[in-house]
Point group: C2
Chain length 107, copies 2
Amino acid sequence: MFVILRTNTMFKTPITGKQKKMARYAKAMGHPVRMYVLELLSKQSCCYSGDLTEELPIAKSTLSQHLKELKEAGLIQGEIEAPKIRYCLNRENWKEAQILFEAIFDM
Amino acid sequence: MFVILRTNTMFKTPITGKQKKMARYAKAMGHPVRMYVLELLSKQSCCYSGDLTEELPIAKSTLSQHLKELKEAGLIQGEIEAPKIRYCLNRENWKEAQILFEAIFDM
DNA sequence: ATTATAGTTCGTTGTTAGACGAACGACGAA
DNA sequence: TTCGTCGTTCGTCTAACAACGAACTATAAT
């Protein structure tokens, strides 16, 4: 018989998967430019990288990096409409983030 | 007559103070240990550094650094009860953070 | 006075983040 | 085909981050 011990006692880490997940989302949101993008996308269905480049006072390569970070955190996704890329929220993960923050803020 | 132009057109930054504030809170929440602390404190009135040291698999000096980051972001505060320090949420800023996250998640 | 407890600060190390311009790749238009 | 547009990747630089142990500070207990 195998008893798979995955309790916190065993590994001495009380930090839950939810907390790790939430920290990941928070980390992605922890930069003003990325906050700007997320807020914009939460209010409209999509936006294009080029539009953001014009609005934000950063190099387009920097914007690419920020968008990449948001993609890797799972909060946004991009769809190619050659030659442009259209970005939108990943609704599933956005919902998950909402639920996690909701829980900690007791809302 | 002085006209103080502080519009976004003038300085070409559309990023609002709220977004910056929110990014600051998110940045502080963007580490699992700090997430753990905040969640614990949101559920109970206070905790002691020493208790956290025993619960978390990190050096106490590392914990001090994390607590310092949360203090500097304004999310927690410490009160000396020699020889211990009692930490609790900064209710005002916690509320502010709640409101900001509430707004972006449309809750 | 010394010792013990509790927690912070310091210094170090290695990693990551965020900024940029240049080079690049993927298209569509001419 | 070349050229232009669009956005990404690369390389570089500097700063920030997160880990640790040791030294330090502030107390209370002996």
